[in-house]
């Protein structure tokens, strides 16, 4: 069984190595930075930065579904008729929109560590526990993302007229199916610009995770800057890589937008 998993991991890493935009077969650094500080391999920092690029991108991609899912349920709770549910959701958004992302990250990182340590020592296990920085970053960023996302989705929910729900019920669809077949497609269309902004913010917030030791773009370029004393070059490259990510995601979002709008009535 472990052989099967390692084969999958190998295939995935081979695939990622192939599409790697920095040090892959068609990578920028491989073709244009040979023999400089940015070369791939042991002589330059290209491959380290490529790993950081991958970590940043995968952290953002892994956080997105978590944040969207929690945000959706928080938005549902906020428009519920039940007062206690609304209040609980309001407390959630007030806290996580009010705290600095860096502080949320520290609270999650150290808090989880203390929590797990206490749980395990209650079970009789003594030993140092270290929380995975990727996991802590995913939770902290996901929580912040979901708080903002719930506001975007809430305003999108409010833009959908009541008649749409009533039409769904009149057709004999029950609540879940009305939500899935009638409301959600319209919700996506309305919420997409707001979600695009949140995605950009998420992409930028991933840089904070370098502070708790995850080897993302900023940490890798920072190490390179300290070793080579070429801080301006390497932090400039970090900025450029984030700009590339922002540009790629703006392309992706306009593609998604034109796709979800294809069934809309032309006005």
């Amino acid at each position: 069984m472990s052989g099967f998993f390692s084969a999958i991991a190998e295939a995935v890493s081979a695939f990622l190595g192939f599409i790697d935009p920095l040090c892959g077969p068609a990578g920028v650094f491989r073709w244009f930075a040979e023999g400089t500080l940015l070369a791939c391999g042991d002589t330059g920092w290209g491959d380290e930065i490529a790993v950081g690029f991958l970590v940043t991108a995968s952290l953002a991609v892994a956080t997105l579904p978590v944040g969207l899912l929690i945000g959706f349920f928080i938005a549902l709770a906020k428009q519920s008729e039940e007062r206690s549910l609304r209040m609980a959701a309001d407390i959630y958004t007030t806290i996580f929109r009010g705290l600095p992302e860096l502080l949320t990250l520290f609270i999650v990182y150290y808090g989880l560590q203390i929590l797990v340590q206490n749980l395990l020592s209650a079970l009789g296990y003594q030993g140092a526990i270290e929380i995975n920085a990727f996991f802590a970053g995913m939770i902290a960023l996901g929580v912040v993302f979901s708080a903002y996302c719930s506001e975007v989705l809430l305003s999108a929910f409010k833009a959908i007229p009541r008649g749409q729900y009533e039409a769904g019920y009149a057709l004999g669809l029950h609540h879940g199916r009305t939500m899935r077949l009638v409301i959600l497609p319209q919700l996506v269309r309305i919420a997409l610009p707001g979600l695009g902004n949140l995605w950009m913010a998420l992409l930028k917030d991933t840089a904070l995770v370098s502070v708790v030791g995850l080897s993302d773009i900023l940490r890798q370029t920072g190490i390179a800057a300290r070793v080579t004393k070429e801080a301006f070059l390497f932090y400039g490259i970090a900025c450029a890589l984030f700009l590339v990510l922002a540009f790629l995601s703006s392309l992706a979002f306009s593609a998604i937008e034109s796709r979800v709008k294809r069934s809309e009535v032309r006005r």
């Binding site: 806290i95 009010g98 930028k204 840089a207 904070l208 800057a225 301006f232 700009l243």
Partner: protein
């Protein structure tokens, strides 16, 4: 023909229909219960680990950190507002070169993380120390606080330029035409007709930008500025007490909520002539 001789005496209202115990009420109770348990738990750990010495030692440094945060944010937002004016006008100008330059500036500062920009200024420009010394600017860039102020000013200027541009462009064309038909010169039109309407539109985004800057300013702790976050990290690294972060969280939440409510009041006050 019948005549009513005695009236029915007033009756008590019918009993309210029993509220069914729904799933959402269950979830609501559970969620509120979790928040309550968290609040009680945090309160108990604070009471349990209460140490007057620590409070006396780190309390004042928290306050000074709070002062540093507020000073940094207010200075950078004010300076950024000044810097944003030419950028916004360059962005709206008909000159292609100017407009593209301004667009590039805004795209760079909005597309990269603030932390990266701060590192680029603080560490990146630090590697040009010989050139900066020759220019006599090294005294400025040597200090982390100055670098943070510069970075935040440039960053918020980009965001504020976009806010200002959006607000000015949201004023309908008819307002320009109306002012022109009254014979008002361009300057007067801008300051007396366009800008007041634009600033009302821009009020809410400006409030959001201030809150974002307060939250974003926490990252200066990484480049050794002792703002609220920096003092928190210092206190944590000396005591290994988790409470230090909770105190900082409380302070940050307080500032953000105060500004949010202040801004809501301000907006209600300034737009009262638009209420019907």
């Amino acid at each position: 023909m019948s005549v009513v001789t005695n009236l029915i005496p007033p009756q008590a209202p019918p009993p309210a229909p029993a509220q069914p115990y729904t799933l959402s009420r269950f979830f609501g109770s559970v969620a509120l219960g979790i928040w309550l348990a968290l609040a009680v738990g945090i309160f108990l750990t604070v009471v349990d680990g209460w140490d007057p010495d620590k409070f006396a030692k780190y309390g004042p440094s928290y306050l000074s950190g709070l002062g540093v945060t507020l000073l940094l944010v207010s200075l950078s937002v004010t300076l950024g507002a000044i810097v944003s004016l030419p950028i916004a006008f360059a962005r709206m100008s008909n000159n292609k070169v100017l407009s593209w330059l301004a667009y590039g500036y805004v795209y760079f500062f909005r597309g990269t993380p603030l932390l990266t920009q701060l590192f680029l200024v603080y560490y990146g420009l630090g590697s040009f120390s010989a050139e900066l010394k020759a220019l006599g600017l090294w005294g400025f860039f040597r200090d982390a606080w100055n670098c943070a102020l510069l970075t935040f000013t440039l960053n918020t200027a980009a965001y504020q330029a976009e806010i200002l541009r959006g607000a000015i462009e949201s004023v309908p064309r008819g307002q320009h035409e109306g002012a022109a038909s009254l014979g008002l010169p361009k300057r007067v039109t801008f300051f007396r007709v366009i800008l007041p309407q634009a600033l009302i539109v821009a009020l809410r985004p400006y409030g959001n930008e201030i809150i974002l800057m307060i939250k974003g300013s926490a990252i200066v702790a990484i480049v050794t500025v002792f703002d609220l976050m920096g003092e928190t990290r210092r206190a944590f690294s000396r005591t290994f007490d988790y409470q230090t972060y909770l105190w900082a969280a409380l302070l940050y939440l307080m500032i953000v909520e105060i500004i949010r409510n202040l801004w809501a009041w301000l907006e209600a006050r300034l737009t009262r002539h638009l209420k019907r």
